[in-house]
Amino acid sequence: MMRTILRRFSRSPSALIGVTLIVAWGLVALLAPLIAPYDPSAIDFAAAADPHPSLAHWLGTDSSGRDVLSRLIWGARTTYIVVPLAVMSAFAAGILLGVPAGYFGGWFDALVSRLSDVILAFPALIIYIILITALGPSLLNIIIAVTLAYAPGVSRIARGITLALREQDYVAAAQARGESSLYIMFAEILPNARGPLIVDLCLRAGYTVILTGTLGFLGLGLPPPTPDWGGMVVESAHLLPIAWHMAVFPCVAIASLVIGCNLLADGLRKEGLK
């Protein structure tokens, strides 16, 4: 099993690069306490006067005198908490709505589809802005907002796949055995929907990284002093011409992780087509 997965990745260079980036950042997130040279919120009052990269602070310090490298490393951990939680919750909601909608059809499908239409009619960022300004920025609220904004899209995909898969003979076979709808939806149909759903998951994870950054940029990010890449850019983007290192490194981190997600999605999709 493991070997076939490895072989598949080796066939798609883009998926391989994508996985490498994602895993590398994941390791950074996992090992943050071990590899970060400083406490991410500790202030070096001496370095505050000259924040530029030095031997003591390889990537310099930020506008509050905190070590950029350490915040970058701990920021990976924040990202690896926020993004998977938010995306998973969106997928859980989307799948729990979309699969039954596609499987049962009828009024439930109509209800879910119309509701999805309604929510999808809102530009995503507007949902975030309205919700976050109303609820206040916090991990939970970001998860709620991402779930609300993404669940309809996920449910559409899940519904579409279910609609196609429910016509498969093995579903008919399960029905003919008198299996419960729950079993059919989640044991017979869902495992076969995983390909497109995983591709979509990668894409949405990438968007969520962008989104958390953008929310931070608009001042709606995670509360400080949480080391958060988006927040790091926000706090220092205005200093770009003076102290480029504060914003550029987190920008690179965000971009590389998103690129990783997109490349992986791309690779998986191509493999899926074969």
Binding site: F108, L111, G178
Partner: protein
């Protein structure tokens, strides 16, 4: 004979694969005269289509010609540049494709696509081209030509689409027409029309014809010469008469023998079987690729490279078989001791069953409508099935035979009528509302080997789940034991429990599907076209397996099929359906001989060799009143058939026909009125 139109010499074609190149066409040579008709026969994966496309200089992504040459009118085409290829394609060689609907551009009108083909190779203006297109449509027997020119592909029936594609191919006046499985997927009666049209055009126009098909019988009807391909090689080639009359290669022999012949009464229900399955592309077999399946293979001789050398039998009859001179003959199945199934108790009784699909509104709720106003998939069906009986339901697509099966098994609810399953009415009880005992009693074997097994589950889990649900067996060990037993019954090794469906061949998957259906020792099995999607050489084995299991367990069989020959071969009783209605029921002997219903007659005509020409027609949706077949019936009594329900006419033996014609008139009319 003038210089040959097409000369292919020792062509090798390979595709890029995960583990290096895979050669899919080997030692392919072919010489075709300018008005010769040649049939290339083979199963899926035999390389026949690849070879055919290569003649137009076209290879799918990753493919390349490794060696060999293709000369059209003496000009080498393997080295042509893009412009040269452009002139060749459509100009010298034109092509007709499998699945005509997808071969036409969905967003352009038929007229536009025809004009384009015409203008690409012959000078002229648009008006001229349009006129040519119209006359060509007439030639392929399209009715309202002007309307057709303005239509889009999705508005066409399958038969129409194929005739349009043929017209398109002919517009550039090619010297060679290549047809790649042109009738696969068409209904029997429609297929017959298209095949006849092709044969007729080939004669009239006088061009070369290369006909690719998996159906040996069909090819034999049209072509002067036939080549049989197996695993990338032509294993036998000769005149149609030689191939059918004196097949020399064991594969050719088996291919001919494994198909039941429609006109033949069955001596045994078992079919002649080719064991195993064709090798997957990329698997290298030294010597003759057929050795693993060949009853005559001699180790040390057939598995040598020399085994595939071409041997000339006589004249133009060639064969690649080491034992070609041994006058081999086909090993037929040993006739079984025929256990005449005794009519047991009634296990299924269907009374006035109708099924209509209710339209739904924007809120997903069924709209209240008058049922009589809706087109029905099943319309007033009454039928009974007795224990241990094999009942076949035949009909074309849209006849409602699958809907009937789905209602029986509990995937759909009937709209009206009763369905008594072991004396319990299940007409409006889907499977999940049926008691466990009824679920166990009735199981199904599905048509499509690609979708019958859940690709995410292992074989062991698939059968195990059925054992657990239906076999009333608990405990892991007991379930495993039963799974192994079932696998053995369907002649699969125990090691298959750990395999995923994608690791299995189509035939193996169908076997797993059968094992699953038998998991709970059902009283009744519904088999919905269980072999129609399989390769010819594999079909017989599956049919035999089903029959064996039926005989051993005394299970009742409801066999859904469009294959008249097969049905005739295996059934105790046959039901012929059309447009959601039963047209005729009876024992095979009664159905397949006059007197018969005009529709049964048409079906038989289409399948019969040396039959009369079938006029090409555009199947219209069946009318809502009167006889459903009235619209297509050549023996229609105008003013009666399409208005009044046909009466039920029955013999004492249980042969029933629904028709306005009198019993004496059935089958009496030996000629069709040649009306369009």
């Amino acid at each position: 004979m003038s210089a040959p139109l097409l000369v292919v010499d020792n062509l090798h074609i390979a595709y890029r694969g995960d583990a290096g190149d895979v050669t899919v066409v080997k030692n392919f040579s072919l010489t075709l005269g300018s008005s010769e008709t040649y049939g290339l026969v083979g199963e899926s994966g035999s390389g026949k289509s690849t070879a055919a496309f290569a003649l137009l200089g076209y290879l799918a992504e990753g493919g390349r010609i490794v060696s060999g040459s293709i000369k059209v009118n003496g000009a080498e085409i393997t080295t042509l540049d893009e412009e040269g290829l452009r002139h060749l394609r459509g100009g010298d060689i034109a092509m007709v494709y499998q699945e005509p609907a997808s071969a036409l551009n969905p967003v352009l009108t038929i007229g536009r696509q025809l004009v384009e083909a015409r203008l690409a190779h012959r000078p002229g203006n648009k008006a001229q081209a349009l006129a040519d297109a119209a006359s060509m449509l007439t030639k392929v027997r399209i009715g309202d030509v002007q309307a057709m020119l303005r239509r889009y592909p999705h508005q066409l029936s399958g038969g129409q689409a194929q005739r349009v594609v043929i017209a398109m191919a002919l517009l550039a006046e090619p010297k060679l027409l290549v047809l790649d499985e042109p009738t696969t997927g068409l209904d029997a009666t429609v297929e017959a029309g298209v095949v006849d049209l092709i044969g007729e055009l080939a004669q009239k126009i006088g061009m070369g014809l290369l006909y690719i098909s998996h159906n040996l019988a069909l090819v034999g009807r049209i072509c002067e010469r036939v080549g049989v391909m197996y695993a990338g090689r032509v294993v036998e080639e000769g005149s149609t008469r030689d191939i059918f009359g004196r097949p020399r290669h064991p594969y050719t022999q088996a291919l001919i023998a494994c198909r039941p012949v429609a006109g033949e009464a069955a001596t045994s229900r078992r079919l002649t079987v080719i064991p195993g399955q064709p090798p997957a592309p990329g698997i290298h077999i030294e010597g003759c690729a057929f050795v693993p399946r060949c009853p005559h293979a001699v180790p040390g001789r057939c598995d040598q490279a020399a085994a595939i050398a071409v041997k000339t039998i006589a004249g133009k009859h060639f064969v690649r078989c080491a034992r070609a001179d041994d006058e081999l003959s086909v090993v037929t199945a040993a006739p079984e001791a025929e256990t005449q199934s005794l009519p047991g108790r009634e296990v299924i009784r269907i009374e006035h069953l109708s099924k209509a699909y209710l339209p739904r509104n924007a809120f997903g709720l069924a709209r209240r409508v008058d049922l009589t106003q809706l087109p029905k998939a099943n319309d007033d069906i009454s039928l009974s099935v007795r224990q241990s009986e094999i009942l076949s339901v035949v009909g074309e697509s849209g006849s409602g035979k699958s809907t009937l099966a789905r209602i029986l098994i509990g995937l759909e609810e009937a709209s009206e009528g009763r369905v008594l399953l072991l004396d319990q009415d299940v007409a409006r009880r889907r499977a999940w509302r049926r008691p466990r005992s009824l679920l166990r009693a009735l199981q199904m074997v599905f048509q499509n080997p690609d979708s019958t097994l859940n690709p995410s589950h292992k074989v062991g889990a698939i059968i195990g789940r059925a054992v657990k649900r239906l076999g009333q067996i608990q405990g892991r060990q007991a379930i495993t034991a039963r799974v192994d037993e079932l696998l053995a019954q369907v002649q699969l090794p125990q090691s298959f429990t750990g395999k995923y469906p994608h690791e299995l061949s189509g035939g193996q998957r169908q076997r797993v599907g059968i094992a699953r259906a038998f998991a709970g020792n059902p009283d009744i099995i519904i088999a919905d076209e269980p072999v129609s999607a399989l390769d010819v050489s594999v079909q017989a084995a599956i049919v035999n397996l089903l029959l064996d299991m039926q005989r051993e367990s005394g299970t009742t069989f409801v066999f859904i099929s469009h294959d008249l020959a097969l049905v005739r071969h295996i059934s105790d009783r046959v039901v012929v359906m059309f447009g959601g209605r039963i047209m005729e029921t009876g024992r095979p002997a009664e159905i397949f001989a006059p007197p018969y219903h005009p529709y049964t007659e048409a079906l038989l005509q289409a399948a019969r060799e040396g039959r009369r020409k079938v006029p090409a027609f555009d199947p219209a949706p069946p009318p809502r009143t009167g006889c459903r077949y009235a619209g297509r019936c050549p023996r229609r009594i105008d003013g009666l058939c399409e208005i009044k329900e046909p009466p039920r006419q029955a013999t004492q033996g249980g042969h029933v026909i629904f028709c306005h014609l009198s019993w004496e008139q059935f089958g009496a009319a030996q000629t069709f009125s040649e009306g369009d």
